[in-house]
Symmetry: C2
């Protein structure tokens, strides 16, 4: 992230990244298929946590309550380091079409994972898709505000994401 920030994403090579991290290029490639994957590292973990939280919700939980559990599970894993990196990642993504694509794919992937976990609970397809999008929007919005507020509070990501979800769900009642 330092290198992307100093030289720009496009101008940074894997050789430079490996050197800065004190590893060989082949070690780098054992963990990441290319430098782009650095910025979405954690997508698998995030997907797993979202799905686990949704699955672990009580059987009688509404789709929204199940999504809330998924968001809680995922949010708790994000600590101060994630918060600090967040604004740098934002700058890097804003400056690179390639990263915007990868980021878009990540969003679509996370929504699909949540929709799948909801479908496994017996939630009908349209409700599952919609609840997953609501969860994704809440996660992205909460994360953005949490990163922006870095330095002003010591809060975890969870209250930010849950507040965003509440706001979105309230908005859902004003659309029609």
């Amino acid at each position: 992230m330092d290198l992307f920030f100093e030289h720009g994403y496009d101008a940074t090579t894997v050789a430079q990244i490996a050197e800065r991290a004190g590893v060989t290029k082949s070690t780098f490639f054992r963990h990441f298929s290319d430098k782009r994957e650095l910025l979405v590292a954690g997508q698998e973990t995030l997907s797993r946590l979202l799905a686990e939280g949704i699955s672990a919700a009580p059987p009688d939980a509404t789709p929204l309550a199940a999504v809330t559990e998924g968001l809680r599970c995922a949010s708790r894993e994000m600590g101060p380091v994630s918060r600090k990196l967040g604004s740098r990642i934002k700058v890097a993504v804003a400056a690179s079409a390639e990263l915007q694509e990868r980021d878009a794919l990540k969003s679509v992937g996370l929504a699909a994972v949540m929709a799948g976990a909801l479908a496994n609970r017996g939630v009908p397809t349209p409700a599952a898709r919609l609840a997953a999008e609501l969860g994704l929007l809440a996660f992205k919005q909460g994360y953005a505000l949490w990163v922006e507020a870095d330095g002003t509070d010591d809060a975890g990501l969870e209250p930010y994401v849950l507040a965003a979800l509440d706001e979105l769900y309230a908005a859902a009642r004003t659309l029609g």
Copy 2:
């Protein structure tokens, strides 16, 4: 699309595409920056139509009614050729990670355009984002069903998309 279908997307070159279309490579590149862009050709038109429809809705239209106008505008532009190409595009996208990324970026872009057009109408941010996602889900779902049903009816895309929107909006009431 024929070439992608015959040889696979990865194995198809721009030279082959240009030859099959009876144009030079430089003509191809005047219209598309690379072969990937072929599959999302029309994204700008689609964005424009969605935004125009939303903007043209009566001032007192609800966010959902405005999105409905956007979807109507865009759906009316999709004719039998789009319907026929749809299943081939689906196969090509399913087989290529590169195309899935571009397709994800298209989705994110269309949602952003709709959210922007709604914000211009004074719709608050959370409601605008949510209504935009609802519109995007409806468009994608309606389009998928319309393409699947090719050959079974002569319907346009519009009724498919509006039915999907109705279904999603009904689902929104069952989430909580």
